[in-house]
Point group: D2
Chain length 342, copies 4
């Protein structure tokens, strides 16, 4: 019997992506969709690409009866998310796509997000949603915190290298090239087609991007000592995709082997042949991640490049993968859609 | 039990799109893939976005054993297609995506394609593949000829209007805006990103585009008298999508009603509310067609706008829909993938 | 000695385009720039591509001393423009880029813009700024009303054909493909890169677009009888450019000759060889217009295609051309910049 | 009196860019244009955006009479360039845009380009064309070798830092995001719009890109010891522009000051306020370079970001700047065109 699903914040891109994925998921039915400013509208009016689906209209969150709901995806803005989630029924399974429950340490949350957390207890309870590294905990979790899309891309490159002890922990540089949907549907001048197409620029440079909080938490936990990466994202003129170019130090063959070994049994993580490097275009619209490794003419240097779709594997696809686990289904259910190219 | 499928010409975009669709189709298995120039390569090397799939390597056509094959998709260049198909086993079901079997009249073929047809008998046998209008014949066909992508878009706008007798048959203008994948993977200067992005231009203007042959055949058959449309395609800087703007004369409410009635029970054809007009972005990556109708301040004028994905509904999705019918399956099997937006 | 120039509304795209053109204009100096919401900022902060220029900071209009100003470009939103202009010194030469003074008939203005005009006398005084057709009047004008960008493109295709009497006046269809900068810097969801790139759609269809008011006025005046065109613009994913595809009835050779003859001595209007059709990419960043003519297989039909850069020839370049005339300079001064391709 | 200019290899993008720049250059006349495969064609046929110019038709190089030519721009493919240049008149001034004369050391040339140099003497004579650093030598040179576009971007970031001794020479990483026109007009599958748009990927990774030869030569000369940078370019979906993100070690204020000081009197090099980072969109179509510096939360780290237009400042604009010097003109003549945005 299909599981009953609610999506809170369905009028944004990650909400729409969840609906797209559930459209061909054999074990999920959408029973409620919320959208504060667009309450009363049909999903087809907000997102015409979904108009063929038989979906409930958008409502306000308080109008939803959660009693029959098995799992709620929460695709609300951060800060809003914690306020909403703390009032949801205690037995409702929740996958949160916001930043609100990613950082376990209240002080870290306050540092990166500029104010105290409003649901500190739940912050501690939440399981970090990087499926391939938290799978067992996710299976039993009530609340899973989806990772930042940049944080996912960077961790797929680096985590196995820390685990295997094959890189210098003080020399990690992450240079990201990001598609624009990661910024959401916000009305900002720099996201207009006229402003954004035709070039690229860095943003949130110098160690100020909030996803760094996740890198610090995860890499330091893993290494058992503080690890700080240098991280610079760049906005590039395509809609979906993150390309993370990681500059690391260590033996390149050991690095390659660590990634191959770690991801050998993962269905969504594809390590390319040695020396081959990925393109974001080859994962667009899918939950797959392509990972490549190159050495350098300078001995002891290596480059690990990760490509994923920020809206799918970087956000809603990951959320679906986690929901599948939480609901006792095959983790890949509904997620084997092949990338769309060209 | 899954049907065994061969794809001839799998190294082009329509071939790759067929593989993408079959990847999540529950009733088809790919047993052979051909690609003359890329024979010996894996599909993942030719199209990295398909590397997660377990697929046979590309071979030359003559290396394929068709004895166990249920259906072959033929995604070869025109002229090549007829030469290959006439030598295939007589009991093999074939969906041809080329232009070779679209025109039933050998003289029309010669006129539009510049040389005599090499398989005239099969040309007559072939069923025209516009599913919603040839469904019953397709079900029983051995050879189905996929339509031109422009021809599909134009016919979805106009056929019901001719059937219902609600437009002036001598006053039909089709202005199309076409994504670049329709031109295939050909190495032409004007298809380079540097040349194509950043603007638009018309091509094959003045009644010279070969898809006009299909309009002439189909519209004249339907009307029982010669019908000639004025047709101008424009190349625009996006990868997938055709937007057909059809300028017609007649009562706009009758026109709208004719489309609503004709497509009421079609799962892939969505007629929008009166006055709403479609965007190609809302059908990208899917088999859906959005159709809108607008009146004009000039009485007796109407505009019908059709949006579809040229690679999917305009080509490989249509081919799959037809193959489903030919193999006795639900016509929508494997085709309910929601569009990808943004 | 250089002429002293003020630009009102310099923080929008047409304002920035004026600054770009003046940057290499030998006879103009910018002495004042206004921008209400961005008053106090430097132009380089608002538009970093202009940061190398030595420009006055943005101020509010009321802070400008117009006593030493020779000419003001007014790049304000419509409605705002008329309110501002009626209070400017009576001896100041003005080129208005808004829609406010394009329509000479107050009733027509009210019909298309939804409210009475606030400066009816000036509305009558204003000269319509389509340089090649109003050159002598512009030379002596105090107030010139820049045309709509779509209106310019359409008129370049059609005016000579009405003048020469070579087309059926009741059968004119204009199908436009428009770059996004024409919509300005407005923060609208459908102008976001994520929403706009990757496809196309029609807008303001059915005879509702305001530029139709200009077509009605100009074509009817020219023909000495009412002329109504059918006009549908489409938004396409490039930043600059309008491609106007005009469907007309008449002898195609007479049509071609009328355009050749009319534009033979025009420096910015290039009629391509018969049968060649233009691309917007070939005029990007310039004041040039490319015009092509094609016949059709249906006798008596012709297609005229016009390509121009909406921000330059369609707006700020035209404004500069008119300003040159009003200031007694060579009309092409500062405007011979070659297009930028690729 | 205007200088007489020949452009060899005028049918490629850098050739067309030279023509664009000369179109508004007051001191240069084009007297000959060569294009081997397109000999006999007009420039307007090859590049319609230049059709308004009165230009000589394309000819084969051997058809050119160089006796009246003051300076030749050589925009030929590498290897071809050296073969052609060694047979040109000894008193002809030449600006070569190919890679052939960038490396002074024949062994380095052979290492990076895979075969011995065919004009070793001229290789030694040639002056490296990075104007701001070789200005005096360029003024007196007969043969100037235009730099690689990536090499220019990287050197603008790093040279002043080596000169000032403010960075660790063993810790320089250059991550570049490159527009597609840098690859020229070559017919390659990965340069098609359908393949390139919509994402990004690295190429020539691991220290294999040929422009590294220039970095090695220049940085090592400057430092008086071997300097090797780690360099990875990425192809991104825009036509013009290079964004070079340089990761360096040193005191960020000293780094910023070194750039400010070094470029204080340079007309084309703009160092942004501390912490502001550039966008390629702000230099498109121009000879300007924007340079920004950011510190990092990790002490002792800094990021220097350089944006330039690869076809203009990275190639043809630089060539023009050098030609101006060689011909005794103001270095900025014809090059003050403002960037085109949006």
């Amino acid at each position: 019997m299909s599981k009953k699903i609610a999506i809170l914040g369905a009028s944004g891109y990650t909400g729409a992506e969840l609906v797209r994925l559930i459209a061909t998921h054999p074990g999920m039915d959408i029973v409620a969709l919320s959208g504060e400013r667009k309450a009363g509208m049909s999903m087809g009016d907000v997102f015409p690409h979904l108009r063929h689906l038989d979906l409930p209209d958008l409502v306000k969150i308080e109008e939803i009866d959660f009693s029959g709901v098995d799992l709620a995806f929460c695709a609300l803005p951060h800060a809003t998310s914690q306020a909403v989630i703390k009032d949801l029924p205690r037995d409702l399974k929740i996958v949160d796509l916001s930043a609100d429950f990613r950082l376990r340490d209240p002080a870290a949350y306050e540092k990166w997000y500029g104010k105290p957390h409003a649901a500190v207890e739940m912050q501690k309870e939440a399981v970090y949603g990087l499926t391939e590294f938290y799978r067992e905990a996710i299976r039993d979790a009530r609340l899973v915190a989806g990772t930042g899309c940049n944080a996912a891309a960077g961790q797929y490159a680096i985590r196995p290298l820390i685990e295997a002890g094959v890189i210098d922990l003080d020399e990690i540089i992450l240079d990201l090239k990001n598609g624009v949907s990661g910024a959401g549907r916000a009305l900002k001048e720099n996201l207009l087609h006229a402003e954004l197409s035709g070039g690229t620029h860095p943003y949130s440079a110098g160690g100020t991007h909030r996803h760094i909080g996740e890198f610090d938490q995860e890499f330091s936990d893993l290494a058992g000592r503080p690890v700080m990466v240098q991280f610079t994202p760049h906005l590039a003129p395509f809609n979906r995709g993150i390309l993370a170019t990681a500059y690391v130090r260590g033996d390149v063959q050991a690095i390659y082997q660590a990634l191959r070994d770690r991801y050998a049994s993962e269905r969504f993580l594809e390590v390319l042949p040695f020396g081959a490097l990925p393109s974001t275009r080859s994962v667009t619209g899918s939950n797959f991640v392509h990972i490549g490794v190159s050495g350098d003419r300078i001995p002891g240097r290596a480059t690990v490049v990760v490509a994923l779709d920020n809206l799918c594997k970087g956000s809603s696809g990951q959320a679906m993968q986690n929901a599948n686990l939480m609901l006792g289904m095959d983790e890949a259910e509904g997620l084997m859609l092949a990338p769309v190219f060209p």
